[in-house]
Subunit: 495 residues, 4 copies
Amino acid sequence: MTQDNAANAAHDLWRELEADRLHEECGVFGIFGHPDAAALTALGLHALQHRGQEAAGIVTYDGGRFHAEKRLGLVGDHFSDSRVIERLPGKAAIGHNRYSTTGETILRNVQPLFAELESGGFAVGHNGNLTNAQVLRRQLIQEGAICQSTTDTEVILHLVARSRRNRFVDRFVDAVRQIEGAYALVALSTKKLIGARDPLGIRPLVLGELDGHYILCSETVALDIMGAKYIRDIENGEVVIISEDGIESLKPFPQQQMRPCIFEFIYFARPDSVVQGKSVYEVRKNMGIELARESGVEADVIVPVPDSGVPAAIGFSQESGIPFELGIIRNHYVGRTFIQPTQRIRELGVRLKHSANRAQVEGKRIVLIDDSLVRGTTSVKIVRMMRDAGAKEVHFRLASPPITHSDYYGIDTPEREKLLAAQMDLEGMRQYIGADSLAFLSVDGTYRAMGYDSRNASQPQFTDHCFTGDYPTPLADLDAEGKNVKKRSLLAEAG
Amino acid sequence: MTQDNAANAAHDLWRELEADRLHEECGVFGIFGHPDAAALTALGLHALQHRGQEAAGIVTYDGGRFHAEKRLGLVGDHFSDSRVIERLPGKAAIGHNRYSTTGETILRNVQPLFAELESGGFAVGHNGNLTNAQVLRRQLIQEGAICQSTTDTEVILHLVARSRRNRFVDRFVDAVRQIEGAYALVALSTKKLIGARDPLGIRPLVLGELDGHYILCSETVALDIMGAKYIRDIENGEVVIISEDGIESLKPFPQQQMRPCIFEFIYFARPDSVVQGKSVYEVRKNMGIELARESGVEADVIVPVPDSGVPAAIGFSQESGIPFELGIIRNHYVGRTFIQPTQRIRELGVRLKHSANRAQVEGKRIVLIDDSLVRGTTSVKIVRMMRDAGAKEVHFRLASPPITHSDYYGIDTPEREKLLAAQMDLEGMRQYIGADSLAFLSVDGTYRAMGYDSRNASQPQFTDHCFTGDYPTPLADLDAEGKNVKKRSLLAEAG
Amino acid sequence: MTQDNAANAAHDLWRELEADRLHEECGVFGIFGHPDAAALTALGLHALQHRGQEAAGIVTYDGGRFHAEKRLGLVGDHFSDSRVIERLPGKAAIGHNRYSTTGETILRNVQPLFAELESGGFAVGHNGNLTNAQVLRRQLIQEGAICQSTTDTEVILHLVARSRRNRFVDRFVDAVRQIEGAYALVALSTKKLIGARDPLGIRPLVLGELDGHYILCSETVALDIMGAKYIRDIENGEVVIISEDGIESLKPFPQQQMRPCIFEFIYFARPDSVVQGKSVYEVRKNMGIELARESGVEADVIVPVPDSGVPAAIGFSQESGIPFELGIIRNHYVGRTFIQPTQRIRELGVRLKHSANRAQVEGKRIVLIDDSLVRGTTSVKIVRMMRDAGAKEVHFRLASPPITHSDYYGIDTPEREKLLAAQMDLEGMRQYIGADSLAFLSVDGTYRAMGYDSRNASQPQFTDHCFTGDYPTPLADLDAEGKNVKKRSLLAEAG
Amino acid sequence: MTQDNAANAAHDLWRELEADRLHEECGVFGIFGHPDAAALTALGLHALQHRGQEAAGIVTYDGGRFHAEKRLGLVGDHFSDSRVIERLPGKAAIGHNRYSTTGETILRNVQPLFAELESGGFAVGHNGNLTNAQVLRRQLIQEGAICQSTTDTEVILHLVARSRRNRFVDRFVDAVRQIEGAYALVALSTKKLIGARDPLGIRPLVLGELDGHYILCSETVALDIMGAKYIRDIENGEVVIISEDGIESLKPFPQQQMRPCIFEFIYFARPDSVVQGKSVYEVRKNMGIELARESGVEADVIVPVPDSGVPAAIGFSQESGIPFELGIIRNHYVGRTFIQPTQRIRELGVRLKHSANRAQVEGKRIVLIDDSLVRGTTSVKIVRMMRDAGAKEVHFRLASPPITHSDYYGIDTPEREKLLAAQMDLEGMRQYIGADSLAFLSVDGTYRAMGYDSRNASQPQFTDHCFTGDYPTPLADLDAEGKNVKKRSLLAEAG
């Protein structure tokens, strides 16, 4: 068992590093009518790689048959091989990047998922999380459905398959009317590419165009990489149907104000993406500027925690006039594979990934800027690393408010009791982290960085429950269970 | 494309060699209550490896959860690894060896298949072929079922899941009452190990016992390898339920006379197995003896086509008094992996697998003994090899009757028009093969070798339609289609 | 460590099974001037696969550059891939199958080995074992040579490289004059294919021809597989040089009587090979006939230990009139990969590979025929298996004399103290094995089976020291060490 | 061939991207006397990963035997596995990261290389390039040496093996006295760890200490990652011998002024390293400051080409007062594996790796800062990307002088005719790249950034021939050949 223990311990270290970040489950892409459909989907998924690194899948339809390729690992590891792309013929394709929150990263869970109807097959890729998937799954199984994956997404397939409607689009609408929570969906039938966004627009989905063919994708960077044109964001509660006849829009839900997830701006989206019309990089810089205004401090250098803290640090530096320096260097070669063979090396922990740039730190008063604080375990180590490198003072600044509540809409957050800000007050956190001072951006400061005067408490502009506890939808699974039971299959299977 | 062409051509050669043999789809194994359940199942599958070499799977239940491991390749390639076995905890296990008749050897088709019911999960492994699976599948999809595999076996899972009965055993019986064709099933629920054999007992299933725990398996050799005791063959149309309370037997079908598949004796079962109380080796030797009686010939040596012709050749030699010699040597290192890189080498064909033992052949009159004749393509080459090695006369003798009809019960036979005996008369076949004389064992001779005076035409003792055209069950799928449509999914997926 | 222990234990079981057989180190093949040189070499190595299964290598020369491919595993696993063959251009090729006697099966030990001279490169493949390799290696290292492999063969390369002669052939002859022991060599320079056999002709090497191009190979089966013509055996002490100018023969050693290794006939060569003009199958059958004459016994059936005991068993049966039956069935799917995950299964041991055919054994007096007896560990288990299957009497007959001495010429024999016949007398062995009677073929009987009246004690016709202790050459390494030190590098490297 | 063509084309694209950067061959690490020697060596190589990403190797000595593990790929892919580390017992270890300049990335070329002397074994790892390796290799082969690798490093092993001296250290000094060019060596014998730096100190090597045990490594970051203490840089022409008796220093060469490679500061070393007492990050920032002074321009934003242009861009921004913004975002998931399956996608080229951050670029006058200009192929694309994103003006600034000469000391530079600055004048380059203005840092500006008033033309402080053509050593191989013949073996071998 020694070896497994070592591997477990190493995996634990990685998990510890990872567990102190937020994770999103997935990016989606779809294209209709393009001769290079599969290759472009691979390229789009590559641009969306930051949304999910554990697995990727592409399904195409060639006019007669569907073709699927699903692989664990990065998009570039498999889907850049022309032999794989050649096994994906057809002019219509959808693709999916997966980040898995459970240990069950097995192929049968990798999306897009596929099902056969009497009228033909269809495939679905999903970014987000359904809050009533367990309740629906239980009903479906009672009725004799056989679930092959452990994903909430499979529920959608069963709802489509069981719909009494005839046309695929009607079945699809039937299905989405039954699900709750957050979703950006791409679906492919024998005749149509469909996109759908939940009634609040929690997860993002944009429409683009290349060579006269429509594209659906999670972020604009997937358009940029292939020189495609951005058309518009899909609206909250909108279902778009793309076929040879062009594009059609349905609004099967009662009208609601949009409430996109604020974390796309703070952490998830790539800085060069434009989400809901806003440059993500600009928003993050603004957060740094607001933070400098709210919680300025006398110091010699502004040091970002790479890479996510960089835009806010640039903003903080520009607003405060204190020079921006790379006081921490990131090792780009660290991957999930780096396990640590001995106890001694495990203790080195964070140094595998980050190292102090002593020349910029020694004898200086530094302001460390990070995008957000989750468990605080990494922050403790980074502050210590700065002190070991000779920092005279370490002021920690977070370019977002304290995270006090878990997410159920597709962000992999720890249980509430593991969120540092849910356990301690500001002074407690400062002591835990070991900083000379600690400050978070206020909720209103965050909204100011987004271009609003403040949060509209009666009708909030964003989904921001992690900071406020204000969950925008019912949480049926959670209520049913009394607690958030992990989605576990009765079957454990390695892949 | 050059390379793929070469690989295809090579694969074609292998297929050509393989296509001239009969193949059975699968072996099954199950054990209940034994602490080494998974390891013993791996061992049993190893002993049944001859029944399916493309993939293997094991499902265990540990009292709380099911665990599955499925792998392409031989049992020994994967399931002899203690790490794999350790991932299969529990005292109850079922396993399956797969021979795939289509190109779609992908993991989601590998058995045992698993499904979750409201009352818990269950897994099924199947040897045989259902003759109404397509008809049932179409109905199920119309009703909104989602099929994940392209196997006929999945239909059984859906029927169980949709049954209105409560107890798992009742649901299982509900399901088997709807299926037609040939099956030996092992199923595992949270409380029970179930075995079932179709109403005619076409495919074999035996009951054994080790250390006080029951075992179900396709052949007695899987008992012998672990020192387990043979108890009895499961009867035709019998369902046995093994639980902590012991063993129970159900007979949910109207009583019928058993009619096991005669090819188990001729070709499939291992010679050291005892099937329906008969030593397979003895039966094959008897076939050689009967053949010598029916179609004796003046000759110098009896040469078996290795390895399947050996027992009959021993019988023929003993009956005729002509010495038995290994005039053909088999290369045991030939596997599916041996593809042929150049055209020249492809033409060598059969020599990769068999070579002439010139010293026993040169200048001699030889009687070649093989178990059966399918397309004849290999036989042509073997006769030519004998002549190239200097044989003076080559008399070809087959220890079974001419195969004139395709099988739909789990034997992978070519379409009828590719069966040599369906196309030509005896003299035509002799000329095609290039032998000096050719003879088949008669149908009655075959039954005599089995211990009967002759075939009982009104109530045949065996399923023998390949020789007689007398199919023992309706063929619903075939009738529905007008022809035997290949089971193809709408989804092509590589694995 | 559990897992490694399990893997080790399992590996130990396999080693136990394997350790009770003799092993030969290697087969060689060379062809000159043929456009399909690499593909034919792969095919020849495939036919010689029984001489070494751990690794294979091919070196070609394309007129400008040498190309090498070396792989662990079977020939068919890698060299049947057209992409590998395409990386081996050129009309001249040599190849090598390796059986490794130590744990160091790493790529740098896989032959053919290659070296660069000022005048160009050359490659060498070697079957056999040098008895003064350690002595020579030590001298070479003293002189500053750097050895990269741990093989005795590398010594030959250094001797060629250091020769003061100019022409490659002269350097090669210089080198072979310094080495002692057993060798069949194929060497490839930029202009020539060279074959060489040691002064006594201990290891085999034959000359053939295909499409007008010469072939050198260990056994005639490598000619048969490609339809090549056998020309003659290379003589003992002969060096043949094949070039565009044809073939030339050198005899650089004093004339001696040939003394080929007797074990090629008893065990190593394929039964369909013709070695030194004798059919191996015939010789083995003769050994069975002589054995029946010397040690006949009242019995019901003759049962061969498969597969090596079959020809002798056929001879014994024909001579004695007792019927030959397959009382033991071999599982062809057992490979080195079959490790046993639990202690219980490890104890099953031999049953993974062999099983009793109870119908032929139960209640019978059986004569078990095997080719030779090494440690006896497998024999014990096979006798017990026969008794478990109900044998009334078990008479064990070996178709060769007792092995009392180790080999140093390329056969992997255990140390002398582990050879059963070196430890016990006949009655001791009988009791150890648990047989009712035990008999070996006499040395003179063995020579009679080879066509001689008896062994010529003053000038023995064969290398037979394993039976007689009469080593045909000096054993310099052994003398230097006082004992047979394992060839270990100072460097342990995994591959 | 289609597929291979596609793979080649894709590989070509990658090579095109890579070919426009400079590459260094290798990083080295050694540690003596530490119980965790292998694990720490793996960790050190991980910190030095930027110096070579194609392969890594570690050799340890356990008091009785050497152990080696060599793998293609990143350090973390293999050497973070405790099973690999466990196969490397011993308290002394050396390791090596390799960047391969030729196609022959095969295991036998991966360092450290090992050889056996009469007195025991030794291993060597080498960073740098010998300028007389081909001349020496030819001599060695004439004398009968057998070269197994195609590396210049193997020459050192042969020189050590052939030395007439007795002690290993004397043999080693004998060897380094014969080699010319650039080298930082770590060597391990049964008793000693040796480090050596060429007479000019072209390649770096530093001495550190952890828990009282000495460490040798290429850069200080390898010390930082494990919390080891930096002691000093090894001097030019110094050989240090570390043993149980402590550390000893030899100076076997005539005293010379040090002349380290200037490119370590400009590009190779990690920014958080301290080389020859200078912070690499500070030097690069200074280069940006000098560049702003020499070639300032009116503009709206300073945009670094990530990641190598960042420190200079920060310096340029601070000096010029123009804001620093991330106008280009790097995709961190691009790796060597990303091949492009279709022509269309190949044309997208640089966008796989970099994308424009439109919000920071559109309508702005931007100053692009990169560290150096090699072929210019990437620069063309980046300027075009900026214009496509709406940049009003693009001013390109290089924080180093024009590269006009190839390197022969371990930097993989293109042949001279492919260096843009060797082909065109400044205005030609500006037009080729498509920038509105183009400027390079002057040679004296570069020296000022390093802390000198200017370059000392009679005794230059750095090896800077790439900018000046002033090669610091003879180039024997180049002179012998008349041109820089590629190091090719007579043997092509895949690995």
